[in-house]
Amino acid sequence: MPDGTTVTVDDLVAWVHRFSEVIDEHADELTQLDSAIGDADHGTNMRRGCRAAVDALAAAEPADVTGFGRAIAMKVISTVGGASGPLYGSFFLALGTTGGSAPSMDATETVAALKAGVAAIRSRGKAEPGDKTMLDALLPAIAAMEGSLEDGGSLADALQAGTDAAEEGMRATIPMLARKGRASYLGERSIGHQDPGATSSWLLLRSASETLAA
């Protein structure tokens, strides 16, 4: 059970379960956001991938953080499709590798692992802040989590700060002009819509704050 200071593999698995539930609840909304500026499949794809990831974790029974990352990454890459598959897959793979072969992580290690995951998304997708992508939610979230820990915050404080920053970052994508992904084909017409990838990224962090340091 979570004790609020360390993150175990069971906590990480609970995070993915919670994320899958939340994606289920928001799938229609994600698809709706995606039909405005993309190709109307983000909710469907994420739902399919998260369900498969939950099954994969049950089958793999990972013993350490690396095993967790690997089990989920391969499943997400092979079931989500689109751009989100390789991007979220790279996130979990790098998170796992950075988390290492320990059965649990402390607050600093957890934030470092999340940060490595976000860096992997950035290098795979070659996007920059302000391009109207997942990174516009994730990068401010990492900065907020690091800031919170530096200020002496607990893991729960850091994850809450990260979630709040991600939500703010997600809303900040609305006036942005898309420079990556299918939305960039719309040019000026991409302005005024919230990015669906930034939205699912906010849900990922919200799920983390509900499970990893509960």
Binding site: S35, D39, I77, G85, G125
Partner: protein, 332 residues
């Protein structure tokens, strides 16, 4: 939503099962999904693999066969396939001469094919990739995902397939693919939206008196919405941006490809072709070859696209070479 389907989750698999029954020259693998020539791998021949979201039929599965693709990886409707599919397809068609991936320029397709190429290289297979980006509706710039891959993909798959069949090596087939891409330009338009089965409702709304110019093949809105116009005016809106982007000198030859987005009948495509021919005659462009029909579609969307490929003798000869696939077949 009215569609001839059984269940939205089964659309891709059941369509593949139908293809498998209809075309004994193809083999369909279901886990992970890909369509492959039944005689693959062809020893000593460069293998050609493409893939992309489903919903563009006959592309890509319908282009698998002698003289065109060795394998095609179908994703969910309008969703990129995944690296495990591409890796297995690449292994299945590697006849020892390497494999070319022909990739349409969409972020998901490019990312997934990149991962597959890394995995295949780790398995010791020589893999090259060419990204097709021929859609002039999109401004090319380092600040966007770049131009989309559309109609020129069909032409590249045919021409490169013929070159591979003729025994050219991987470097030569890749160079040829880049040349087709560099000389191909497309522009599309829609009269209606389309409905992704899993979404259940039209991707965008277009009223009865409107059309979308510069539409992509995924129902993603184009760049400009205007009142519906005549075929002559629409042909002009499609051809002029192409000629502005890649001018033709008097007497240069083109392959003109008039494509249905899925819901537009052949009678209207011929009317468009007639208008395109008139415009090109005014510009002194000779239409040396043509292709007219539904080859790269967007489900049931009404609309069309025009692709022009500036032909040289080599491309023309390879275009004319024998091809035997479910969707393109001549010289057999």
């Amino acid at each position: 939503m009215k569609k001839l389907i059984n269940a939205t989750d089964d659309v891709v698999v059941e369509a593949l099962q139908g293809m498998e029954h209809a075309h004994p020259s193809l083999k369909v693998v279901y886990d992970p999904k890909y369509v492959v020539r039944a005689d693959a791998p062809v020893a000593g021949k460069v293998g050609i693999v493409s893939g992309g979201g489903s919903g563009h039929e006959p592309m890509h599965g319908g282009f698998v066969g002698m003289g065109m693709l060795d394998a095609a990886c179908p994703g969910e409707v309008f969703t990129s396939p995944t690296p495990d599919q591409m890796l297995d397809a690449t292994k299945a068609v590697d006849g020892g001469a390497g494999v070319l991936h022909i990739v349409k320029n969409y972020t998901g397709d490019v990312l997934n094919f990149e991962m597959a190429a890394e995995l295949a290289a780790a398995d010791g297979i020589d893999v090259e990739a060419v990204v097709i980006d021929d859609d002039v509706a999109v401004q090319d710039s380092s600040f966007t995902a770049g131009r989309r891959g559309v109609g020129a993909t069909v032409l590249a798959e045919k021409i490169c397939g013929a070159a591979a069949e003729a025994g050219r090596d991987l470097a030569a087939v890749k160079e040829l693919c880049e040349r087709v891409n560099a000389n191909g330009r497309s522009m599309g338009m829609a009269l209606t939206s389309c409905t992704v089965p899993a979404a259940g409702k039209p991707t965008f709304e277009l009223s009865d008196d409107e059309m979308e110019i510069g539409i992509g093949i995924h129902g993603e809105p184009g760049r400009e919405r205007r009142p519906v116009a005549s075929a002559a005016e629409v042909a002009k809106m499609l051809v002029e941006p192409i000629l502005a982007d890649l001018p033709y000198a008097e007497g240069e030859k083109a392959l003109v490809f008039v494509n249905s987005m899925g819901g537009t009948p052949l009678i209207e495509l011929y009317i468009i072709y007639n208008e395109v021919a008139k415009i090109l005659a005014e510009h002194g462009v000779e239409i040396a070859r043509n292709l007219i029909g539904p080859y790269i579609t967007s489900l049931e969307m009404q609309g069309c696209s025009v692709t022009m490929l500036k032909l040289d003798d080599e491309m023309t000869e390879l275009w004319d070479a024998t091809v035997n696939t479910p969707a393109l077949r001549w010289g057999v």
